[in-house]
Amino acid sequence: MVWLPGSDQLLGRCHCGAEHVAEEPVEVWEWLLAHPVGHGTADHPQTPELVGAR
């Protein structure tokens, strides 16, 4: 889960590659744990270099 620089948003990235952006962490963890439910489409495409940025 990446806290997107310059914003208050969190980007969750599942091991399946699906991504989800939300404002608070409980929602993102719930989305991650729900895999594969709701992971079909990357509904929020992001610049790939952010993913896994440390």
């Binding site: 889960m1 806290w3 997107l4 208050d8 969190l10 608070e24 962490p25 991650l32 896994g52 440390r54």
Partner: protein, 348 residues
């Protein structure tokens, strides 16, 4: 139900604490007796005599060669916990045996396995190799915490609290102000939280130990292996400096901050802390300074968490916490801990 995960390795002591004196510590609600055999092996067994449950750590119980002689009526136990002699009769009841615990001495810690001993071999003991490495210099200690271990997990997984609770020691504005990346590795059983501050104030903890003046690049990379072991890989360097492509990092100072979070009871915790460094390794004044500073920081957390425990103990059920971005690591750790407390099928 207890929230303490079973079938897990926990740090019970530093190796230096255990010698030829009987030593007792409560780990996960179990009162355990530790001692070192004449050949140097650490042993762990129940601290309650099977006869009338006299604590074996209590004088006049004593160690005679590699046997413990109970100070009340003289039941005598070997290093494996088996009773080898009872007073007044030659027959020793077959069931006269102290519960004994699997033990591993590694990385300066004594680890004990709590749960079904048959599961110990298949459960890896987490590593903190810096603590007894020749290439690092380590200071360490342990503080008692009158709070449930989950509160210390929350505390350590969210270092933004450094800015507020530890200002003037390790906290600077950038810690709370810098976004984090959180990663759950279910296969390895690790939660990782990274916070890389490219241009930050240097707190006294690092300026006085490294000699760096001015602003720094400060990286905090946490690896938590629930339930017990927490590692903070801390990298301090001049602004702009990054590790070389080959992985070496000659311009940086590295500190490995290690915590072992061991439940004593459901509402108290042994807070083991260690600080290992790869610079000024022979400078005792740096060792003294880091030990004193880190202990102070740990005690600031202890004070806060002791208060929090008292609040939680008397609050009505159903209190709703509010989580924000800084809590992503703590939430991930809680989820892993919850999974570890779920019962697993028995070994056949």
């Amino acid at each position: 139900m207890s929230t303490i995960p079973q079938d897990q390795w926990y740090v019970a002591a530093y190796g230096r604490e255990i010698g030829r004196e009987l030593f007792s510590r409560t780990i996960c609600n179990e009162s355990i007796l530790f001692w070192r055999t004449a050949s140097g092996q650490v042993t762990a067994m129940s601290d309650r005599c099977v006869h009338r449950r006299f604590p074996l750590s209590q004088a006049p119980t004593r160690l005679v060669d590699d046997q413990v002689v109970c100070g009340y009526h003289g039941f005598t136990y070997g290093a494996d916990g088996a009773c080898v002699a009872v007073p007044g009769q030659t027959r020793v009841p077959r069931t006269a045996r102290l519960r004994s615990y699997p033990v591993v001495e590694q990385d300066s810690f004594v680890w004990v396995f709590i749960g079904d001993p048959d599961r110990a071999d298949a459960t890896p003991v987490p590593r903190a190799p810096w603590l007894d490495s020749r290439d690092w210099t380590t200071v360490s200690g342990m503080e008692p915490l009158a709070a449930r271990f989950g509160l210390l997990v929350d505390n350590l997984l969210d270092l933004s609290h450094e800015t507020y609770l530890h200002g003037g020691y390790i906290g600077t504005p950038e810690v709370a102000g810098t976004p984090i990346t959180t990663e759950v590795d279910d296969e390895a059983g690790v939660v990782r939280v990274a916070r890389h501050m490219a241009d930050a104030e240097c707190p006294p903890f690092y300026s006085r130990s490294t000699g760096l003046t001015g602003r720094i690049s400060r990286w905090q990379d946490i690896e938590y292996t629930p339930p017990c072991l927490y590692l903070l890989h801390s990298r301090i360097a001049p602004v702009g400096s990054v590790p070389d492509p080959d992985g070496t990092d000659p311009d940086a100072f590295h500190v490995e901050v290690v915590y072992a979070i061991t439940p004593e009871t459901d509402t108290s915790t042994h807070d083991f802390w260690a600080v290992a460094r790869d610079f000024a390794r022979d400078d005792e004044s740096v060792s003294d300074f880091l030990a004193e500073q880190n202990r102070t920081v740990v005690l600031q957390d202890v004070e806060a968490l002791d208060v929090l425990e008292r609040v939680i103990a008397i609050e009505p059920p159903g209190y709703q916490e509010l989580s924000i971005n800084i809590d992503t690591g703590g939430l991930a750790a809680r989820r892993m801990l919850t999974r570890l407390t779920q019962p697993v099928p028995a070994v056949s």
